[in-house]
């Protein structure tokens, strides 16, 4: 009964435009206050303690690094290099967009950041190349979502902390699915460009190609460095994040010379905007899960599953459906934190691999970024292109269908996500 009241209050509040974090916290605090088991001061303590986790520090670090990379030239030179190699091919500009997103995704852990960094340069280029605006916007919004599937990934950090699974293994689990999805997007982009005969960029000379590639080497090196060090176990994901931040700062300030002291405030502000928003959601969701665990809701749901003999695939189907629906109006961090404490005992009961589930969940969260009415990437692209949200939605629709089909493949073929982590363990 109280649980129903809690969820209703949460929905009521966020529908009234209360920030999601505040709605989560206020709903949980109100119900707990009336139940009388908790003092409010314990709740604040819980919020504070939930943030004092070393693993979570990876989030601001990757966000920070992403901001520096998009402001300091690394993203820009990556795109120039890829464009000089592939821009003249059929669908070349679309391929460049997807590849840049995939590489940027291997450096930054966030989807909106990826869409913003690559879109700022590729959207005008695509339009100039004669691509319809609707398609260009949809392409950027969709390939930007690779940000959280290709490691590193903010969503996976949050998931890993919640279910106490190794972040490094989760990252490795996302690698092959991420590259698969990128390839699927590239193939469909080429096919579409051939059918519709979209424009191409002028062919670059070999001299230009080498010049651009050389300039972009520090950017290309970064994903290898981040994943390599985590893979070899030399550093933790958090440390890799911090190293890449320092690297990005050094490259931008001293090699490219595109970042100076006067940019510091903008970089600070943008990193803080995103990191603090995520941290507030985390702190608020912890109060929510405090309520759930205290009332043994997860256990009750797990028992229900056990009694009803629900099979693994029915469960996964139900989860996907639930994530999809929640994803239309919530964003990734809150969905993960609200659902995982409840789902975790069931996943364990049904013997589903937590890494496999983490990858499935992440692809669902990618969809959440591009499904209306609330999808962060849709907002990013709409405001960047000064276009209406409906237009972006129309452009992104074919990509939603592609991603759903990919999700089905992922659910029924666990090896795809488990091959690298398993090879690593043995």
């Amino acid at each position: 009964m109280e649980t129903l009241a809690l969820f209703s209050l949460f929905v009521f509040l966020f529908l009234l435009n209360v920030p999601i974090a505040v709605a989560l916290a206020v709903a949980a605090i109100t119900i707990m206050y009336f139940m009388g088991d908790y003092t409010l001061f314990m709740i604040v303590q819980r919020m504070y303690a939930s943030l004092m986790v070393e693993t979570l520090m990876a989030i601001p670090a990757f966000v920070f690094a992403g901001v520096v990379m998009s402001k300091g030239g690394i993203a820009k030179y990556l795109i120039y290099a890829l464009r000089s190699w592939f821009g003249h091919l059929p669908g070349g500009l679309a391929v460049v967009t997807i590849m840049s997103c995939a590489i940027f995704a291997a450096i930054s852990g966030s989807s909106p950041a990826t869409a913003a960094a690559i879109g700022a340069i590729m959207l005008p280029a695509l339009l100039q190349g004669g691509y319809p605006k609707r398609y260009a916007m949809g392409l950027i919004a969709a390939s930007g979502t690779l940000g959280i599937l290709i490691p590193p990934s903010v969503t996976m950090v949050v998931y890993g902390v919640t279910v106490e699974e190794s972040i490094g293994k989760l990252f490795m689990g996302g690698l092959i699915p991420g590259l698969c999805l990128a390839s699927i997007l590239i193939i469909s982009a080429i096919a579409l460009a051939l059918i519709k005969n979209y424009g191409r960029a002028p062919k670059a000379t070999w001299g230009e190609r080498w010049k651009h590639t050389l300039k972009a080497v520090p950017g290309f090196f970064l994903p290898v460095f981040i994943l390599g060090t985590i893979y070899m176990g030399v550093v933790t994901p958090t440390e890799a994040a911090v190293l890449s931040l320092l690297y990005a700062v050094l490259v931008s300030a001293f090699l490219y010379k595109e970042m100076s002291l006067k940019d510091i405030r903008v970089i600070f502000r943008e990193s803080i905007n995103i990191s603090s928003m995520i941290f507030l959601v985390i702190a608020a969701a912890m109060v929510f899960s405090l309520y759930l665990t205290y009332n043994q809701i997860p256990g009750a749901v797990a028992n229900w599953i056990a009694e009803n003999n629900l099979n693994k695939y029915m469960f996964l189907f139900a989860c996907n459906l639930m994530f999809f629906v929640m994803g239309t109006f919530l964003e990734a961090v809150s969905i993960t934190l609200i659902t995982m404490p409840i789902l975790l005992p069931m996943i364990q009961h049904l013997g589903i691999d937590l890494i496999h589930f983490g990858v499935i969940m992440t692809v669902n969260m990618e969809l959440a970024m591009i499904t209306p009415p609330v999808g962060l990437n849709l907002f990013v692209v709409a405001s960047m292109a000064k276009s209406k949200l409906e237009e972006v939605v129309k452009g992104v629709l074919p990509f939603i269908i592609i991603m759903i089909s990919f999700l089905v493949l992922l659910v029924y073929w666990p090896t795809l996500s488990l091959w690298i982590p398993r090879t690593l363990m043995s």
Partner: protein
């Protein structure tokens, strides 16, 4: 007043960003120490980097509010007429302000609690009440920004708020031409 506001915004940005950046760089120091045979990683660095990052992000909550970066669900809100929007926003911001105040008040209580109990951290024996000070500080700064939002919504019958909404609308529809 305008000058003070500008100064205060800069203060928020540099304080939150500076704390966050310093905290993250401290993590790096320990990596360096670990891989140098001459040195050992220091436990105090781990602990203090955590404090600094959490301080930075908590204080930054106010910055994110100032820049309208806290995620909201607009699907119902967007269908409302302008006047209704204003009152819904008044409700949302009031609730936010109450939450921020609660955060500040109970933050003070937590600090007091740690102080009276004399709890210290395991690694460095730092009194726990000192890092916990960020709760009341962040709570107050967060409250201040909510009050500002409410002021814009309510003062002079919401004149300033209506002006901002109009600006936003023109910005959204004004230039659909390709960029």
């Amino acid at each position: 007043m305008q000058k003070f506001k500008k100064f205060y915004a800069a203060f928020e940005d540099y304080l939150a960003g500076g704390l966050l950046f310093t905290g993250l760089m401290l993590i790096l120091v320990n990596v360096v120490l670990r891989y140098n045979p001459m040195w050992r990683p220091k436990a105090w660095i781990d602990e203090y980097s955590l404090y600094l990052v959490v301080w930075g992000t908590l204080i930054g909550i106010a910055v994110a509010l100032r820049n309208d970066h806290h995620i909201k669900v607009d699907m119902l809100y967007n269908f409302l007429p302008l006047k209704a929007k204003r009152w819904v926003s008044v409700f949302a911001m009031t609730l936010g302000m109450l939450f921020a105040m609660l955060f500040a008040v109970y933050g003070v209580q937590l600090v007091k609690f740690y102080y009276v109990m004399g709890q210290r951290s395991i690694n460095t024996q730092t009194p726990e009440w000192i890092p916990a000070l960020c709760l009341p500080i962040a709570g107050v700064m967060f409250t201040v920004r909510f009050i500002e939002k409410l002021w814009i919504l309510l003062a002079h019958g919401g004149r300033e708020w209506f002006r901002l909404q109009k600006e936003k609308e023109e910005d959204d529809l004004g230039n659909i031409s390709p960029i």
